[in-house]
């Protein structure tokens, strides 16, 4: 069974974040620094899963914190800073992905890989870690390509759940949808991956 992380958004973290948000709004930059400490890792991980590139992920996260800081006063409920901020991260990541796609960095049209699945031009090769193990590089490359073809919400739900190990409740909070919708998105994403990768895996 896949490991599932402890919940990201709890009563305790909500109270803590609300106090820091209030202090930051009163001009305490250190309080905002604490929010950065609390969320930078999960933010970079989230952006990294969506962008597959360490440098791009860090750039997005830095932008996201800056936007969050500038917009902090518009946050309706300071207790929900975490989900609000990670929503900024995911939105900026998706924007960056779209920009990268339109610049032709992510997917090379017409380039066919295994089983007729278009292969992704892998922009992360310079920075990705070496530990793609178990199923091997071939399968991972095919998964990369299949993931590229998923609708954004399905892709995000699957990556956060199956890779990052987020509880589905937290994903629902991030995506501002019901738990059932998250389950459905994970289900639909898996189904499509199975359709794309079934023969490769069966080999």
């Amino acid at each position: 069974m896949k490991p599932v992380n402890p919940p990201l958004f709890t009563e305790e973290s909500a109270e803590r974040d609300a106090a820091w948000v209030r202090a930051a709004l009163a001009g305490d930059t250190n309080a905002f620094g604490r929010l950065v400490e609390a969320y930078q890792k999960v933010a970079v991980s989230t952006a990294y899963r969506l962008l597959n590139n360490s440098d791009d992920a860090q750039e997005v996260v830095q932008d996201a914190f800056l936007k969050a800081y500038q917009s902090l006063g518009r946050l309706q409920d300071a207790r929900r800073f975490g989900a609000w901020f990670l929503r900024i991260v995911s939105n900026l990541s998706l924007n960056a992905r779209r920009a990268r796609r339109s610049a032709g960095r992510a997917l090379v049209d017409g380039q066919q890989g295994l089983d007729g699945v278009a292969e992704a031009a892998d922009p992360r090769q310079a920075t990705q870690g070496p530990d793609r193990r178990a199923e091997g590089r071939e399968l991972q490359a095919a998964i990369d390509a299949a993931l590229e073809k998923l609708p954004e919400k399905q892709r995000m739900a699957l990556l956060l759940f199956s890779v990052e190990g987020w509880p589905q409740k937290d994903i629902a909070e991030l995506l501002e949808c019901s738990l059932e919708t998250v389950k459905w998105n994970v289900f639909a994403a898996r189904k499509r991956l199975r359709e794309h990768l079934g023969e490769i895996i069966a080999d």
Partner: protein, 220 residues
């Protein structure tokens, strides 16, 4: 090929969401239905391959990233509570101070002004302006390239007893401008030399903000 309902069942099984009874029934079916078993095997391998990606972590210098973020936000003003707008006299002053970018929001509590409704941020209420003969002068702190701005409330002395004013400022990104500083200094000196004016220095943020407004003040 399996039925979508069974695919949903396999998903719930993978996510440990089946009851003991459902699991027992599924295991029985898996033994009897090779296509179902094959589908589960494929899903498991995909899930395992996805979980393996967790080992592929971003390469990050966390301390450096944190420092970079804080450096990016530090020159910013304190996070703004509301939309910000330039006072008219600053807009006049701006051409003189090409590099200056100052925007302020002032929270003023004037008990004489009815405040039963929350004003729309960024939209000045002219009626309130006329009811509250308050003038506001903004001045950037010296020796800093950014930070919290000093706000002074100038008001006619004759109004002082009758019109208590509490003000605060939620502020802004700005850059220094000698020309603008001089302009503000002139306004201050001019008013301080007039006995008909009292100078008030705004302190902390008003909580709660009972009235949010902007002052369009013509240049002297």
């Amino acid at each position: 090929m399996i039925h979508e309902r069974d695919e949903w069942l396999l998903n719930r099984f993978l996510d440990a969401e089946l009851s003991a009874e459902e699991e027992r029934l599924l295991h029985r079916r898996l033994e009897a239905e090779p296509p179902l078993r094959a589908s589960l095997d494929v899903l498991r391998r995909i899930d395992r391959a996805l979980a393996d990606r967790r080992l592929d972590e971003p390469v990050v210098d966390w301390g450096r990233l944190h420092a970079g973020i804080m450096q990016a936000v530090t020159p910013q003003a304190a996070p703004a509570h509301r939309v910000i707008r330039f006072p008219a006299w600053l807009r006049v002053a701006m051409p003189l101070a090409a590099a200056a970018a100052i925007a302020l929001m002032v929270l003023v509590h004037d008990p004489r002004v009815k405040d039963s409704t929350t004003p729309t941020p960024g939209i000045a209420r002219q009626a309130d302006h006329t009811a509250a003969p308050v003038r506001v002068v903004f001045a950037a702190p010296t020796g800093q390239s950014g930070g919290r701005l000093d706000v002074r409330i100038h008001r006619r002395a004759t109004d002082a007893a009758a019109l208590p004013v509490v003000a605060g400022v939620s502020q802004v990104a700005y850059t220094r401008s000698t020309e603008l500083d001089d302009h503000i200094r002139q306004i201050d000196q001019s008013r301080q030399s007039q006995s008909s004016w009292q100078v008030y220095t705004a302190d902390t943020m008003v909580q709660p903000a009972v009235m949010v407004d902007f002052f369009d003040i013509p240049p002297l």
